[in-house]
Amino acid sequence: MTNAQQPAHPPQGPPPGPPARPWDRGGAGAPGLTPGSAPRPSALAQAQPGSQAPPLGRAPGSAPLPLRPPLGPVVLDLQDAVRTYPGDPPVEALRGVNLRVRAGELVAIVGPSGSGKSTLLHVLGTLDKPTSGIVRVAGFDIGTLGDQDLSGLRSQHVGFIFQQFYLIEGMSALDNIANGLLYRGVGPAQRRQRAGEALERVDLSHRADHRPSKLSGGERQRVAIARAIVGRPSVVLADEPTGNLDSKTGRVILDLLDELNRRDGTTIVVITHDHQVAARMPRRLEILDGRIVRDSLAVAA
């Protein structure tokens, strides 16, 4: 990955910090919010002496959070996406979903079980293809791509966070995070270095050498989040990220996602059945019977 290989955004001042990507905000309209100048988690922690809560996320009454940055180009674009599973009768999991998510958004897709939200997650993550309609992820029409290209697309543009964490036992937290770059052909030294940086962003550097089994549930999910963001993907898809956690730990994880979105401009889509989780997100989509039935953005607009 070099700047030469990634199209740079129209110059709005020199791109600070990490290599600019199409989905990074230019940062001109939000001084102090660019990834390079954003406060690091450790800095946040130091800024809250005496805080008993984990250093991540917002402690009540702490310094005001940075504003959400302006939105970038469209990252996820679904036009009349249909996914039907063959059978007798065929199961229509998605019945024409129209959806646009722009870079920098933090979106909740909420719906009861059986509403098609898992299928939607798989389609958004290019793990599954629509039966009809158009699905564009990071600008690529996934319907036209084969398995190999979809794998490439995932390795470059999509980060996943799962309810079950899916950390590989027998591997340190750091190596689990480095796995996020394994299929990009990044060398081991650079993988580990960037994994170390990602681990710092979820404020878990002190757990770098721990095996997943030695970590608490919340810590495991933070490791999984670090793995999802280590490659700076265009979009992070979180599938019930708090589903296996108690409510207090769940709040910490949601705070972390919120912070990653505000501070680094990471585009995050959270799929959940929990309206309380969804309520914390700036934009909420409700899915029912394979259709988007409500979009808070549309209501607001």
């Binding site: 798989h122 990071a138 794998s151 027998g170 591997m171 052909g185 081991p188 793995r227």
Partner: protein
């Protein structure tokens, strides 16, 4: 993908999705990372990995062990043959048509020496006498020891060695002295020279004890006396019972063909001619046959071990659906998944193979040393053993790897829930 692949003038990011390059960059996996991937399964379930390896290790150990042992024993036999020579014939009087003992003519030895390719010939004759420790021992209790009149050059022809003392010479052959064969000495309980034994009807002094005679084991239970003494004391008339003949090895079959007529012109068909080295060569050949048998058994063990690997890999694929799904989500292609599981099977087989080679060679070397052979570890056993293990691993890992690769990412992630 490189910048060249993009449309000209596309340095600025394309604002619309449609203008983007149509294909994303492909996933890549460094071949060196495959090593680490192959080791994940081994580290994750060590006991299972160890048990699987044992299957392969036993097969390889059996094959390597057999090769080492057979090679060591064969080289021992060959060096023995080399030392003793394959150019010796043993000419015996045989039996008459009516079952009695035939006799070679008294000048048989001289006649044989006149045959062109014959290099040397030495005769022995069984003498009608017994040897005992003392004259108080009953005459019937000979212990199976016979008294043999021997030519002075017998040891040269047989390439036999004296263990203790010395062999008969001109002087000692005409006085009552004897040299004992190895078995004879053991049966009489004699370990040194200077002891007297009761031979025939008088005391003989033991002046030497032979090492076992490898090409003529029948002589080990003999007490040797000189021709002169035999003629004087035991009415020996000069008709040898056996003649050992060394010949030019290229003409040995021709020599063999004329032995009957030469040694007993009156009844050539009664003469028996054998080639003692044939026995050793037969032993070497038999060893090869056994080697093939045991190699076959080792191969069966190896194939069983291969099924063990395939079984464990299939189980591992089923158990690690979640990991497969995760890796697909991280961008692994089907090929990457297949390669990971094949390398895991290869790692299992390779470690098993190396352990097997070490185990097999170690045990075989210990056995060879216990047999006083020079241990020989053939390179083909080591290389072939490891290559066989790797080949088995690749074959055994193929199907499970295909199963893993064919798993759809969504099924893999769902199946693990």
């Amino acid at each position: 993908m490189s910048a060249v692949a993009r449309p000209i003038g596309a340095q600025a990011p394309p604002p619309a999705a449609g203008a983007r390059p149509r294909k994303p960059r492909s996933s890549r996996l460094h071949p060196s990372d495959l090593v680490g991937l192959g080791a994940i399964g081994l580290r994750a379930s060590r006991v299972r990995a160890a048990l699987t390896m044992i299957g392969i290790a036993i097969g390889i150990a059996a094959m390597v062990g057999v090769l080492v042992i057979s090679e060591s024993s064969r080289s021992d036999l060959l060096s023995q043959l080399d030392r003793l020579g394959t150019n010796m014939l043993r000419v015996t009087a045989g039996q008459t048509l009516f079952g009695g003992s035939a006799e070679l003519s008294t000048d048989a030895r001289a006649m044989i020496e006149r045959v062109g390719p014959v290099e040397s010939a030495s005769s022995v004759a069984t003498v009608d006498a017994t040897v005992r420790r003392t004259d108080f021992i009953d005459e019937g209790r000979t212990g199976g020891i016979s008294v043999t009149a021997a030519d002075l050059d017998l040891l040269d022809t047989l390439r036999a060695e004296v263990g203790v003392g010395r062999w008969l010479d001109e002087a000692s052959a005409s006085v009552p002295t004897t040299v004992l064969g190895n078995t004879a000495a053991r049966r009489l309980g004699i370990t040194g020279t200077g002891v007297r034994v009761w031979l025939g009807d008088r005391w003989f002094t033991v002046i030497g004890i032979l090492e076992p005679v490898e090409l003529a084991g029948e002589l080990d239970s003999s007490a040797f006396v000189g021709i002169g003494v035999s003629e004087q004391l035991f009415e020996y008339e000069g008709s040898p019972s056996t003649i050992y003949v060394r010949s030019d090895v290229d003409y040995i079959e021709d020599v063999r063909a004329v032995m009957g007529r030469t040694a007993n012109p009156e009844d050539p068909s009664e003469v028996e001619v054998t080639r003692p080295s044939d026995v050793l060569e037969a032993k070497a050949a038999a060893a090869v046959a056994f080697t093939d048998l045991f190699l076959g058994l080792g191969a069966v063990a190896l194939i069983v071990g291969g099924f063990g690997i395939a079984n464990v890999m299939l189980m591992s694929v089923m158990e690690r659906r979640g990991e497969i799904g995760l890796r697909r989500a991280l961008g692994a292609t089907r090929r990457h998944i297949a390669l990971q599981f094949v390398s895991e099977a290869l790692a299992l087989a390779l470690v098993g193979g190396v352990l097997g080679v070490l185990l097999g060679a170690g045990l075989a070397v210990a056995y060879a040393l216990s047999q006083a052979w020079t241990p020989i570890i053939p390179a083909v056993a080591v290389g072939g053993g490891i290559a066989a293990a790797v080949a088995i691993g690749a074959v055994a890992g193929f199907y499970p790897a295909m199963r893993a690769a064919r798993l759809s990412p969504t099924d893999a992630l769902r199946g693990a829930e």
